[in-house]
Amino acid sequence: MKTRKNVKPTHYINYVVITVAAIVLGILSLVGALPASYQIILENIAIAITLAVSLSMVVGFLGELSLGHAGFMCVGAYLGGKVVYVLSPSIGEIPALLLGFVVGGILAAICGIIIGLPALRLRGDYLAIVTLAFGEIVWSLFMNSSEESFGGALGMPTVRIDKDYLFIIALVVVLICLAVTQNLIRSKHGRAITSIRDNEIAAKATGINVTKYKLAVFAISAFFAGVAGVLLASSNYTVQSQKFNYNYSIEILVMVVLGGMGNINGSIIAAALITFLDIKLQTVLTGELAVMQDLVYALILIVIVIYNNAPGLKAFREKYNFKNLLAKVIKDKNDPSHARDDEAKWDRVPTKIQMDEVLSVDVQVKSPYTPDKAEKGDN
């Protein structure tokens, strides 16, 4: 009763927006009113949102830095894409695609668990290095595969699913990914996950099974990255392994960080905007100006980061904050502090090694540090 009463419009607005977008754009597309270029942009946006939301589970809620998200995607794109390619002549494109989602997702999830295992021991920068290495290993493996298996350097041929409706499938995938992520985060399990982020030592002492939750989060996150990989494979005629390099992982991370750590709606908006910007820059700046693409892209990112963080702009930010403006429109009777429940703070990007970790009790039993003796004023 209480939980149902506490339902907030902001909790479900993202489903509504995406569903409406999928229906409206789907109808437009089926009557032929949506240009092909926009269909492609929509496909890419949907893929980016799936990636950003799944990564935000690891980075924003579990508090671990993963730089190998494109690696999971690569596994999904190649293995799931292969399934679609092999099976679509016999069972049709759509069933083959659905099967591809399952196979690609599950294989990526298995990789996620394998990468999650070191995550139990490593933290912060060290885990970032492991995941980074994983991402690089995956794409170079496919790069050096034989031509008959995965196409090697030439790329693997895939089935291009019809533009007219692939983006609708992609948006449905986004909805499923969102539902799983949000339902998980807004449950007792989500509390356990965020407790690990907030204070792992206390979480352990409170009896939270840290191993289980870390592996589960890595697996679910990798699953959706794999599914996004299958979508990417289906939106092209080939998959090129070079695409899944380090830069791509960083791009996904940028979406999560720009959207605000642990803020799913923020990640969605950031993913959509960055993808749109990226594609627009590629089409607008052509020929001689093509070299400017990355430059403009980087400049825009720098401006956003400065805007988000600069102390001088704090008053301005707070006055014209989206949340405050929204609050004027929708009067939220509940305590405003309640809404901040599952958000981390901006300055909690998990790259910094915190004092907690230096003093961590579970690094070594024979560590000369005792966890509770290190602070000043200890008497």
Partner: protein, 256 residues
């Protein structure tokens, strides 16, 4: 004679050449309020870290209700029934007060709800969430934080943060509750209030309490029995008035 909840036998740990704690024998009886005191660096927190699984003892063993828990992990020991608070507060700062307690309730068998049930929002999810919130409110009421439940825990004043840590530990339904300096940083009024709360917790939750404290008024007013440690060895054991007037103990504290 009531039964023994925690028993340590020859418990000890050394870090390299440093013997932080040695030959510790404790017997804590059911519903007892047991104090662990000693000067700085005496090894009190190290004892806590051993019996909560943070450190693995190098010698000896400890038993909870007759079950040997030596060498088990922190999570496993918590599930068996030892909960603790920390000397330097370790709350989940980005969560509201009630959520901190809800995390403590996570492993209670009556609030079992698998991840799949939560993801698909099956009826049990809503049922457990509701029941957990009710239970969390009850626990917060005991420590007097019910009205603060929707505030972020990092915004609470220090004394209330300490109480919240106790509430979170209590939520795990422990047999033995270990409080590491619960009264540190509290003013005399708050300390007196805390004494009432600790007694109340013991009676209402049927829990045995082991606490570390430097406030001697607090210890002698509250504890049934104490152990005084210095340099990792036991100086005196017994009723507070007796143990604290032991000449060895006075020497360790005041010097001479």
């Amino acid at each position: 004679m009531s039964k023994i909840v925690l028993k340590t036998e020859n418990l000890g740990i050394s870090f390299g050449g440093l013997k932080a704690v040695q030959n510790l024998d404790l017997e804590i009886k059911e519903k007892q309020l047991y104090g662990l005191v000693g000067p700085n660096g005496a090894g009190k927190t190290t004892v806590f870290n051993m019996i909560t699984g943070v450190y693995k003892p190098t010698t000896g063993r400890f038993l909870l209700d007759g079950e040997d828990l030596t060498g088990k992990g922190q999570e496993a020991i918590n599930h068996k029934g030892i909960a603790r608070t920390f000397q330097n507060i370790r709350l989940f700062n980005n969560m509201t007060v009630i959520r901190n307690v809800l995390v403590g309730l996570h492993n209670q068998p009556e609030f079992k709800c698998s991840m799949v049930e939560s993801i698909f929002r099956l009826p049990r999810h809503f049922k457990t969430e509701k029941a957990m919130r009710e239970r969390a409110k009850e626990i917060l009421r005991v420590v007097g934080l019910e009205d603060e439940r929707n505030n972020l825990s990092c915004n609470l004043p220090y004394g209330k943060q300490r109480k919240l840590e106790i509430a979170r530990a209590l939520a795990t339904n422990p047999k033995l509750l270990c409080l590491d300096e619960p009264a540190a940083g509290m003013n005399p009024n708050e300390t007196a209030e805390l004494m009432d709360i600790v007694r109340h917790i013991r009676d209402q939750f049927n829990v045995t309490i082991l606490l570390i404290e430097h406030d001697m008024k607090f210890v002698s007013g509250l504890c049934d029995e104490i152990t005084v440690l210095n340099f990792g060895t036991v100086l005196a054991q017994g009723k507070p008035e007796v143990a604290l007037s032991d000449p060895e103990v006075i020497k360790a504290y005041i010097g001479g």
